[in-house]
């Protein structure tokens, strides 16, 4: 369905190429939800923009392939990619307020997408819009279509964004932090809706998030990114039970659990997230890694068998010696 192979994204500044994302590969199948997890600056959002063909200069794809249903997007012109956007692939963003037009009614914004992408008549679009709104759980669609975005709460606006995203029956939805701006109770509603739609319509979904709880509850597969590299891949269960990369393990340990023992302090990862503007040699995680050895600084670990680490945690190398 969607396959990203060795994707690299760079930024040109003063004729120097700065790599931001390097060697990222993953696959998403129909009806499946893949979560990409990472902290700020890990490159997860620009990876999703690259798939949509929305990178703007000075950002560009410097290597790799993005294959969607057998077509390599990196070889298409922006005009050709536009034919896919909104029809075969669509996107849900974090800020539902800024992505809706404040001076147009909700109904006209959804109808616009339908007419543009499916070529229906006005009346057909109206009926279709009603159906979509009730599909995403907006009660009273006929009334609500006449309202403006400011009449809607954050959760309702995000439902409208989802209605627009699924309007043309896309095969892939990319959701970039769709619930970060929402309350936990609304977050649960929106994510359940997305995963339900995904299963019902057989759509694939790429969920970009920083919240490990969301990953555990909704995703089928996870890719963990750090400093522009893919560090680990697996199912939520395998990653939670047996994290192979020290970063993943550290991330899981630093999340407080509702039933955790309060007398123990949390175990944070020391240091600060990798700054994309500074080049780090070897493994990007080495300055913060508890398993650090000199080789980590010199040589970048290859991504092999679901993890990129010289001293993966699931194998007992000579860990005892150090």
């Amino acid at each position: 369905m969607l396959e990203v192979k060795n994707l690299a994204i760079s930024l040109t500044s003063k004729n120097v190429e700065v790599p931001l994302v390097d060697d990222v590969s993953f696959k998403v199948k129909n009806g499946e939800m893949l979560a990409i997890v990472g902290e700020s600056g890990s490159g997860k959002s620009i990876t999703s923009l690259a798939i949509m063909g929305l990178l703007k200069s000075p950002l560009f794809v410097s290597a790799g392939e993005i294959i969607f249903n057998g077509i390599d997007f990196t070889k298409l012109s922006p005009e050709e990619i536009r034919q896919f956007r909104g029809k075969k692939i669509s996107m849900v963003f974090q800020e539902p307020m800024t992505s809706l037009n404040p001076v147009k009614t909700i109904g006209s914004q959804i109808e616009e997408t339908i007419i543009q992408n499916l070529g229906l008549t006005k009346q057909q679009a109206k009926n279709c819009c009603k159906e979509l709104l009730s599909d995403v759980g907006v009660a009273d669609p006929e009334q609500r279509m006449r309202l403006y975005p400011h009449h809607f709460s954050g959760g309702m606006r995000q439902r409208v964004m989802i209605a627009i995203a699924i309007a043309a029956n896309p095969e892939l939805i990319i959701a970039d932090e769709p619930t970060t701006a929402l309350d936990v109770t609304i977050q649960a509603q929106i994510l359940s809706l997305l995963s339900e739609l995904c299963k019902k319509r057989g759509m694939a979904m790429l969920l970009i998030t920083h919240n490990l709880g969301i990953v555990a509850r909704y995703a089928d597969k996870v890719s963990v990114m750090y400093g522009g590299n893919l560090v680990e891949q697996g199912t939520p269960r395998s990653i939670y039970r047996n994290a192979k990369h020290p970063y993943t393990a550290g991330l899981i340990r630093s999340v407080p659990k509702l039933d955790s023992d309060k007398s123990m302090p949390l175990e944070p990862i020391s240091g600060e997230p990798a700054d994309p503007s500074k080049l780090i040699s070897g493994c990007k995680f080495h300055p913060r890694c508890p398993e650090y050895r000199p080789i980590c600084e010199k040589q970048r670990p290859e991504f092999k068998d679901e993890v990129a680490c010289h001293f993966r945690l699931d194998k007992d190398f000579e860990r005892q010696i150090s």
Binding site: G155, T185, A188, A216, R217, S254, V255, L258, P268, D275
Partner: protein, 333 residues
């Protein structure tokens, strides 16, 4: 333990004005009869959805908004309407840490100047430079940070400066409004640990406002849950999460996904349907009745009061089904 801060039935109503004469046509009841106490050395958590009034409570304790009703007592003295000198000395004893460390630090001042300003304005008597270094060390920042500007630091470091500033005048109570919400997970844990450490070493009291229940649970001794301007449940932190009594607390906890994929608390019918009603026209009776799945006819007309329930220690809830809930959880145990 003695109460450091006693809040009794505080109300903050914002007028809604309309028309040429700006007549008051309605009022938004942001905080509507909230009472609690913060003991010396205690950390109290305040949780709830956005718009429930938790930030307004914080602002009223910091004397940034005027109370419409009720009293605030700090260390035995009523501070609800103090002015000028008294207010200044009150603010020395109660300080705040805010959510966004980028907008709460002046971008044109170095860390040294930011911390120095607080000390000079309040006529700090000892050597200011030594105090600045002491504060930085306390918050885990190296001496070189004195020279840095906010944009030269990462989010976590900036929040440490925010904490150092809050500690500058040796306050007794610190009010943290979403102090760790804007940070990355790995950094969030560092700051949470720092706050806990400071609390233990300096014997501070905290009011910690947050929407991330697991973080609040980790930091606080007691937790109060707010909904539409009212407290609906208050009790011991660990206890409250293990055995929530109010239907709203239950739903709130169910909505938080656990990072353990095998721990499926997930019970989709428990999800709260709909959204928080507008505080302009709050529902009659129990404010939660429109979203509550246990509601009975009475909930629509009768307003529940905070009452003790027989679970855990000092648990209070505001629910008409109080007795039934108490019985149910006793049977479970």
């Amino acid at each position: 333990m003695t109460a450091l801060m006693k809040i009794k039935d505080i109300e903050v109503h914002f007028p809604v004005r309309k028309g040429l004469l700006q007549r008051e046509v309605a009022s938004i009841k942001a905080v509507d009869g909230v009472s609690f106490e913060i003991q010396k050395g205690e950390a109290l958590g305040l949780v709830g959805e956005s718009g429930c009034g938790k930030t307004t409570v914080a602002r009223s304790l910091l004397k940034l908004v005027e109370l419409t009703g009720g009293t605030i007592e700090f260390d035995g003295q009523v501070v609800s309407h103090i002015k000028s000198d008294k207010l200044k000395s009150y603010r020395r004893r109660v300080s705040a840490i805010f959510q966004d460390p980028f907008s709460s630090l002046n971008p044109r001042m170095t860390v040294g100047q930011i911390l120095g300003e607080v000390l000079t304005v309040n006529k700090y008597e000892e050597d200011i430079n030594t105090r600045i270094l002491e504060l930085l060390a306390l918050c885990g920042l190296a001496e070189r940070f004195v020279e840095l500007y906010p944009h030269e630091m990462s989010g976590g470091q900036r929040q440490r400066v925010g904490i150092a500033r809050a500690l500058a005048l040796d306050p007794e109570l610190i009010i943290c409004d979403e102090a760790v919400s804007a940070l990355d997970v790995s950094i969030q844990a560092q700051i949470v640990n720092l706050l806990r450490e400071l609390r233990d070493t300096l014997g501070l009291s905290f009011l910690f406002i947050g929407h991330d229940l697991s973080v609040v649970q980790h930091l606080c001794d007691r937790i109060a849950v707010m909904y539409l301007g009212k407290i609906v449940e208050i009790g011991n932190a660990q206890d409250l999460f293990k055995n929530p009594a109010h239907p709203y607390t239950k739903a709130l906890i169910d909505a938080v996904p656990s990072i353990d994929p095998d721990e499926k608390r997930l019970n989709e019918d428990m999800f709260l349907q709909g959204e928080v009603p507008s505080p302009l026209s709050p529902p009659s009776g129990c404010v939660f009745h429109t979203r509550c799945k246990y509601r009975i006819e009475e909930c629509k007309t009768k307003t529940p009061l905070m009452e003790q329930v027989d679970i855990g220690q000092n648990r209070m809830i505001a629910c008409l089904l109080n007795e039934e809930i108490g019985l149910n959880s006793q049977q479970k145990q």
